[in-house]
């Protein structure tokens, strides 16, 4: 209803309001509006209005909100581009000026700059100062000094980039299987099954929203941490990203501790949020009818929580069901792996007004090293000579993959022997600890039966403190437990290095890589 109401108001106060706005409009602004209207992304949405409304994913009001929000974002992007073009030797000061002029936070402008870079119409480098560190043998510290920005000199309409459907991400084996694209598609033409995406080309309107929200198309990694810390300062982060505090914790709730993987913290978070009416829905993963093949679940009350406890090592497109709560305003929590958290935070940075994404209030991240396809899981069971139907619990611990059966037998195999069975698409992921979540939960670094909890944002801090205040969990600082934070930093570093290695390999073979 938002757009309509706004229009009616405009009509009433037309003579005074519109005129005063019209007086402040400059020719340059009109020029940017014209450039933006040329943008393929906006055009595709305008032309496909009927298809979108017929598909029934978004209502007419939501459609207008979406188009205009996208229009505003594109307008801002092209204004920045024109501003950079009109300034010789654009640098950090230019960015500051632009953000002051438009009363934006600098981090928002960095985000737009990264977006322009990923569209290859602006090239920029960061200039760092090297500062020798005091301790011997430590590598010298890099301190940010300036940007060196080189925009494309030419008419922007010549180089308008077209966002392709997200299919190219599927085909180049980069898809994380998070399901965001399928959850936001305005005509419902995408589907992720078993970690692989399918697109209905007949239905597709080529709006490129799927590509835009995908965490593997382009992702401004540095800006993710800035948003997490709510700062515009450019600095280096540790291997586990921005965080406020790290704890080791476990649940006190009996019904959760009976079924949970380690400490049951993520389930307890949901329990608290449902119990105190902080959320209406939550997204998670449950076991489907085929055992150990998970499927997305929309949790509606705390009674549903036990269905989702326990780690599933098979990829699950949780965000695919985002479009189920498009219709009205709800508060939603999402429990998911790093790639899902990346997608959700990305939609904060480049907000294009997708109602379901804006409903997400709590992001609960899980540690993830890699995921497996269902077929590889069957292969692992074959290696261990276990029937998959007998498996009660799976776990990765101390470099081994453990399988526990219903008759309390334990099987294990070193991770190294089965890592070739992991999804190839997951090799390009840099994130172990869900750096983009409000609160991250995992087992690495804590003793058995406990969770390592990384509190990252104010939102996450509030949630964790509420858990303690309500006597739902017991916690202690991570420094008091072994192996503790160093272990977590080391493993996270391993994943980052592995990611760099795989990306370089892909670069050498001239394959498509995600733009980080």
């Amino acid at each position: 209803m938002g757009v309509r109401k706004f229009n009616n108001k405009l009509k009433i106060s037309k003579s005074s309001n519109v005129m005063s706005i019209e007086g402040s409009i400059t020719w340059e602004y009109l020029k940017n509006v014209a450039d933006t209207l040329d943008s393929y992304r906006v055009r595709a949405l305008i032309d496909a209005k009927e298809d979108i409304l017929n598909a029934g994913v978004y209502s007419e009001d939501q459609y207008y909100t979406l188009v205009f929000k996208m229009f505003d974002e594109e307008l801002l992007k092209y204004s920045l581009f024109e501003f950079l073009k009109s300034t010789p030797n654009a640098n950090f000061e230019t960015i500051k000026k632009f953000s002051q002029k438009n009363s934006l936070e600098p981090k928002k402008v960095y985000g737009l700059l990264e977006l322009l870079k990923s569209e290859k119409i602006v090239n920029f480098d960061e200039v760092y100062d090297k500062i020798e560190s005091e301790g011997e043998g430590d590598p010298p510290k890099l301190v940010f000094r300036d940007f060196k920005i080189d925009p494309f000199r030419g008419n922007v309409s010549q180089i308008k980039s077209i966002y392709e459907p997200v299919e190219i991400i599927f085909n180049s084996k980069l898809c994380s299987g998070c399901g965001t694209c399928a959850g936001v598609c305005p005509v419902n033409c995408l589907k992720i099954y078993n970690g692989f995406g399918q697109i209905d080309k007949e239905k597709c309107i080529r709006c490129g929203i799927c590509y835009f929200v995908c965490p593997r198309s382009h992702l401004p990694v540095k800006i993710l941490s800035m948003y997490q810390g709510n700062t515009s300062e450019i600095k280096e982060y540790t291997n586990i990203g921005h965080f406020k505090q790290v704890y080791s914790a476990r649940t006190k709730l009996k019904e959760i501790s009976e079924v949970c993987q380690d400490g049951g913290i993520s389930s307890t978070c949901l329990y608290y949020l449902f119990d105190n009416q902080k959320i209406d829905f939550a997204l998670g993963a449950k076991m489907s009818n085929t055992i150990w093949r998970p499927e997305p679940l929309l949790l509606k009350s705390k009674e549903d929580i036990t269905q989702t406890s326990g780690t599933k090592y098979v990829n699950n497109p949780t965000l695919q069901i985002l479009n189920e709560f498009n219709s009205s305003k709800h508060n939603v929590a999402v429990v998911g792996v790093p790639c899902m958290m990346q997608a959700l935070l990305k939609s904060d940075i480049y907000n294009i007004g997708i109602p379901s994404l804006n409903n997400v209030k709590y992001k609960i991240g899980i540690f993830c090293m890699e995921s497996f396809s269902y077929e590889s899981l069957l292969k692992i069971c074959k290696v261990l000579s276990v029937n998959i139907n007998d498996v009660k619990k799976m776990d990765i611990n101390k470099g081994k993959f453990f399988v526990y059966t219903h008759n309390n037998k334990e099987y294990f195999v070193p991770i190294k022997e089965i890592s070739h069975l992991a999804r190839e698409d997951c090799e390009v992921c840099f994130d172990l600890t869900s750096e983009s979540a409000d609160i991250s939960v995992g087992s690495i670094g804590s003793p058995p039966g406990w969770n390592t909890v990384i509190v990252r944002t104010d939102n996450g801090k509030g949630l964790f403190e509420a858990l303690i205040a309500n006597d739902l969990i017991e916690s202690k600082p991570i420094e008091d437990v072994t192996p503790g934070l160093p272990m977590l930093q080391k493993i996270a570093g391993n994943k980052k290095n592995g990611c760099k290695k795989h990306i370089n390999e892909k670069k050498e073979k001239n394959l498509r890589i995600p733009i980080y």
Binding site: M19, I25, L37, F71
Partner: protein
């Protein structure tokens, strides 16, 4: 938008009646675009009156004159839009 950039304060699009277009249904496609542009103008703070589509067959002189008068009146009641300033060399 090009017309606005070149200094027009309003744009009238005069097309055939529905179903009588020489190019299948270009007039109705344009109608959709105009409808959207009106919404967009409201969104960015321009008066939606600045763009109008009129349906008028080639022989309907009176209709044509009325359309032109209509847009002229509408635009004249609005302030002029900014014009492109040539940079002095």
């Amino acid at each position: 938008m090009d017309a606005f950039l070149k200094g027009a304060d309003g744009v009238a699009i005069i097309s055939c009646h529905e179903g009588e277009c020489n190019f299948e249904n270009a007039n109705m496609n344009t109608y959709k675009h105009v409808k959207f542009l009106k919404e967009l103008f409201k969104h960015i703070g321009l008066s939606p009156e600045r763009i109008q589509q009129y349906f008028c067959a080639a022989a309907e002189i009176e209709n044509f004159v009325a359309s032109v008068k209509d847009i002229t009146n509408k635009v004249q009641s609005l302030p002029p839009l900014p014009k492109y300033k040539l940079k002095p060399n």
